[in-house]
Every structure is written in structure tokens, then in C-alpha cells.
Symmetry: C2
Subunit: 361 residues, 2 copies
């Protein structure tokens, strides 16, 4: 018994257990059963082209297809149409709590369009991004929603955009050469700053997120802009976080608290996780929030209203952003002129208990 034969026998055996033989019904079968030509069957099953046929023919074909449990072979269709019916989404990290609402918004729209979502993570790694882009291009994704862009990625995005429609979400690249929808982070930073200043704080510090990401940079600029128009002092902090995590927030806050002299009376953390890290740093130093230091977070992450103290934060319309970005992607796929617009969705300040007027000793 040759090796070949053995292999075949195994296969046969396997099939007796799980028959995935998938003696699939093809369009030709339907056509035969309905007594028409495959081409006619194809048209009958295409909602857009169904009215090309006699209603009886069309309905007969549809009925037959229904009964036979026909499903198009999406490979064949894609091969012919050269489009996959999938939309690729690139995110930095699914675990980031601000993503799910965005993904959900995207999903709602995309699913309604009978398309499927392909999700991939870059972990903020440039070469992974390139790899993913390759995959998406190879898979002929109909469009890419990119929410993991760094400021330096313009070139990569441009070369992707040559091949596939691209929509930028949340994070923009340097220039506005691509259709983009982000949160209005400059405004967000302003809201945070104005809130703290209006409480009476005059010595403030930012706990900055990675500065090669447009959204953090926007927050920084908005915050700084307000500072420059008031008598308040923004304490310059040399470092920014390598990642917007609890650990990095703690590290940055510690660095500030370890600086000799008086410390600032308020922090603006570039996201809630970092704010929580700052909270930890305070606790470690025996300080309390907001009595000693007020903290404003960003994102209104789940549970950020349940930490101690509940965080004052900036809430982002993420579901809405997801929906818009998906709608935009769909429009671009449909071939509507790709205006390289950038749309910014306004955030909202949520005041809770991590901010208060500074205590004057």
C-alpha cells in the first residue's frame, strides 16, 4: 500500500466522520433546475438586475435557489468582480477601552451593507502595520479604515491609498491628504484646560501620551493654547508616555512628583488609563486627589466613573465616530469623489470628583 493510498484512505475515513464534502450547489445547478441558462440565473439572483427578467422567470429561479439552499461562491464572485465585500479595520490595540464603541459603530454600518469586517492590530508597530496593509491589499479588501496611523505614516498610507480606498479614523497623519474623521482633540484639550483654570489652578502639568500620534498631539496643543492665554503656568514636562497605559501614567506622574520644589496642583492626563496611573502615583506618595492634586482624564473609559475618585474626563462620541467613518468608507467605495476632508467630532467634558479648586495652605 503506497503512501499515497494511505493518505487517501485516511481522508476517506475522515469524511465518514465529518462530511464536509460540501457538494455545493452551484449557479449552474440552479439554472438547470429552473430550466434556464446560468447567466439568467445569475441575473435573477442579483437584486439590482432582477428587473431585467420576466417576473415569473426571476421568481422561479429565486424559489429554486432558496429551496436548494444555494449560496454564491464568494471566491468566484470576488474573482470576477475583483472586490471582496470586506472592509479592513486597522487598530492599534483591541484592548484599548476606547475602541469597542468605535468598532461597534463601524460594524453596525458595515454589516447593514452585507459586508464583513476584517480587524487587525498593529500594537503601534510600524512594520506590523506594513504587514497588515500587505494582507489587506492581497485580500483585496474594498476599503481600509485605519485608526492606527502615526504622524510619520503618511508615506505608507499614501502607497496604500494608491491601491485601496483608505479612510482615516481617530488619528490623522500629518497632512490632510486623506478623508479623515477624528475627535476634536484640540477642543478636548481646551476643555480640560479651561475647566482646571476656572477652578483656580495656576500650576498645571500634562501627562502626555505618545507624541507621534495625532490625537495626543491635539490634546497637548489644545491644552497649551489655553495656558498661553491665561496667567496659569504649564509646567513643562520633558517626557511623554511611550504608550497610553496605567504604568506610563504612573511613571510620568512620579517623575513630576519627584522633582524638587512645589508640585503642580493639577494634571491633565492624555487618557483615563494614564490618569489612573497618576492616581496610583499620588497614593504612593501619600497625596490625595483632588485635595492635593486634581486630575482630568480623557476618553471616559468604562469604569473610569468608578475609580477612586471618579474621574473628571473628556467624553468622546466614539460610537458616532465609528458610524460616520464607516459611512464615509462606504461612500468612498461607491466611488464618490474622495475629498481629502478632515472632520472633527466635538467631545464633551464630564465633571466628576477628581477635580476641585486647589487648596491654599
Amino acid at each position: 500500500m503506497s503512501l499515497h493510498q494511505v493518505a487517501r484512505a485516511c481522508k476517506a475515513l475522515h469524511h465518514t466522520f465529518v462530511d464536509r464534502s460540501s457538494a455545493r450547489v452551484t449557479l449552474k445547478d440552479i439554472a438547470r433546475l429552473a430550466g434556464v441558462h446560468p447567466a439568467t440565473a445569475s441575473r435573477a439572483l442579483d437584486p439590482a438586475r432582477g428587473d431585467m427578467l420576466t417576473p415569473e422567470t426571476r421568481d422561479r429561479v429565486r424559489r429554486v435557489a432558496q429551496e436548494a439552499g444555494y449560496q454564491v461562491n464568494s471566491f468566484a464572485r470576488s474573482l470576477r468582480k475583483n472586490s471582496s465585500g470586506m472592509v479592513g479595520v486597522v487598530v492599534a490595540d483591541v484592548a484599548n477601552p476606547f475602541l469597542p464603541p468605535i468598532l461597534r459603530g463601524i460594524e453596525q454600518i458595515i454589516r447593514a451593507e452585507q459586508k464583513l469586517l476584517l480587524i487587525a492590530e498593529t500594537h503601534d508597530d510600524g512594520s506590523t502595520l506594513l504587514e497588515i496593509i500587505d494582507h489587506f491589499v492581497a485580500r483585496r479588501v474594498d476599503a481600509v479604515i485605519l485608526s492606527a496611523a502615526h504622524l510619520g505614516d503618511e508615506h505608507a498610507v499614501a502607497s496604500l491609498a494608491e491601491k485601496i480606498p483608505v479612510v482615516l479614523a481617530v488619528r490623522s497623519v500629518g497632512s490632510a491628504r486623506f478623508p479623515t474623521i477624528t475627535h476634536d482633540d484640540v477642543l478636548g484639550g481646551q476643555l480640560a484646560a479651561e475647566h482646571l483654570v476656572s477652578l483656580g489652578h495656576r500650576d498645571l502639568a500634562q501627562l502626555r501620551g505618545p507624541m507621534d500620534v495625532s490625537s495626543f498631539r491635539g490634546r497637548e496643543q489644545g491644552f497649551a493654547a489655553v495656558m498661553s492665554t491665561t496667567t496659569a503656568l504649564e509646567r513643562f514636562v520633558d517626557q511623554s508616555a511611550t504608550a497610553p497605559t496605567v504604568e506610563e501614567g504612573r511613571r510620568l506622574a512620579k517623575a513630576i512628583l519627584d522633582t524638587p520644589g512645589r508640585h503642580p496642583t493639577a494634571f491633565f492626563a492624555h487618557n483615563d488609563l494614564m490618569a489612573v496611573g497618576a492616581l496610583e502615583a499620588l497614593r504612593d506618595r501619600g497625596l490625595t486627589c483632588p485635595r492635593d492634586i486634581s486630575i482630568v482624564g480623557y476618553n471616559d473609559a468604562p469604569l473610569s466613573n468608578h475609580v477612586n475618585p471618579p474621574l473628571t474626563t473628556v467624553r468622546l462620541p466614539s460610537l458616532e465616530l465609528g458610524r460616520r467613518v464607516a459611512t464615509l468608507a462606504l461612500a468612498v467605495i461607491a466611488g464618490s469623489p474622495t475629498e481629502p476632508t478632515i472632520e472633527k467630532l466635538p467631545p464633551e467634558l464630564v465633571i466628576r470628583q477628581s477635580t476641585a479648586a486647589p487648596s491654599h495652605p
Copy 2:
């Protein structure tokens, strides 16, 4: 000028802006450039079949392909191979904080295999599940990782399994007819119960998650099993949550606290979000945790160590689960005999400050 011509003109115009003409290099081109037959080129580019050729031929083809920037047309390949190189993942809700680590684990393994992940959400809705399954079948996903199963879904899963290899993650269906990897929720419930009992609690109540989901049911059983072997009393609570959310946790806790008479001294919430909801309910009633009531959560969700008080909870090896489940899926795809095993990963109790000995007045 006919409508047709206008359309074409528009198209041409559009192309001058964004040339997606994608004059794609096909295998035939490569073959021609390398002076071989397409079949040979195909073999040269297939790592598994590369040694079938003369090294020179193979390398020449590869070089040419490289230089020409050749990429297989995945549709054509899939059509031929009748496999898509994608793995579908079905989850209940991406926003659920315990998912990201699992997804990440899955992604690590799947990406390493050059496959892509297709993610879809059911929102715990049965008909959505069916719809998604249809999509996945139509797209000829290589395997489905299903982590959104309800106990009653056995039939749907069986019919899916006829067409595509299925692996169950996190949640099992009633019987163990499919390869499954879950957390050991019975053990998790036990750990929670034992911890509370050993602290001296004798009057306890569960805040139960949806009982049509195996993982919540496991937690309940593990907890109840310990109760039955001790002198402690499990307060029977009629209701269970319709969804494992903060709101539902609060509702359930309120219902218990509103019952006349003494209240239990400890809650076991079936996940951290519900635990946080219970925390809120306590606060609303002027009670404090753990002085009046101890609470054990489940999942060790992000920030659950930062709520007030930090939650005692059950930590799950989710990343590991994701990795294993993906590995299992890969094995099943590769055709290894589909033993309908169920593997349970042990959780771990994390003691923080939401639990303490009951105060005896």
C-alpha cells in the same frame, strides 16, 4: 453624449486622480518573465512545493516575482483551493473587557500562520448569530472560533460544524460534542465561595449572570457546590441578569437589599461589571464595602483594581485561552481528528479590598 459615455468619462477622470487601475501582475506574467510555464511558477512560489524544482529555476522565478511585486490573487487561489485563509471569530460583544486578551491571543497565533481574522459580534442575539454563521459559511472561512454560544445553540453549532470546523471558546454549548476550551468556571465559583466562607461569611448571595451561558452557569454551580458542603447559607435569588453589565449588577443588588430583614454579608457577582454595579447599589443605600457587605467579582477586568474598593476577583488566563483556542482551531483545520474534548483552564483568586470578615454587631 450618452449616459454610458458620461459614466465612462467620469471613470477616466477619476482615474487621473487616483489610479487604482491595478494592472496587476499575474502568475502568467511572472512565468513569462522567468521563461517558464505558469505551473512551474506556481510551484516555485509555493514554499511547500519549491523543492520539486531545480533550485536555479525556483530562485529565478522567485526573484522575478519579487522584482515585479507579484502578489497572488487570493480570490483565484481560494477559488481553486476552496479555502479562504481566514478564521472567523464570533464574540458576543467586543466591548466586554474580558475579550481583548483572548482576541489578542488568538490573533498572535493566527497571524503567525499567515491567516487573517474575521471578527463579528452577536450582541447575544440568536438571529444575529445565525446571520453571522451564514456569512462565514459563504465566505468559506477555514474555521470558526465561537465564543458567543448559548446553551441552547447546540443545534445551530452542529449545523455549522457540518460545513466548517468549529472550535468553542469560553462558552460551551450543552453537550461536549465539539472541541472546546473554556475557563474552569466551576472552579472559579468555588474559589470565590471558599474565600468568602473562610472569611466567616454565613449568609451569601450570588448576583448571577445570564443563565443560558455556560460560563455563568459554571460559576453558579461551583459556588453552590461549596455552599452545600458548609454550614453557610446561600440566599436564593430569584432573578439573574439579562446581561452582565453594571446596570444589571446594580438592579440585582438593589433587589436583594430591598428584601425586608437582614441582608446577606457577602455577594458573589458573576463578573466585575456586575460587582461594580453592586458597589453602586450599596453606596446608594448608605452601605460600605467591605464593612457591611463583601463582594467578589469575576474576570479581573482592567481598572477593577482601581475601583473603590479594589475588587477581590477571579482572574482568568485569557491570553492563554486565546492562544490555545487558536492553536486548536489550526489543528482542526489541518485535519487532525476532531476529538470533541473540553479543556478547562484554571482561574486564580485575586484578593483585594472588597472582601473582609463580616462585622458582628
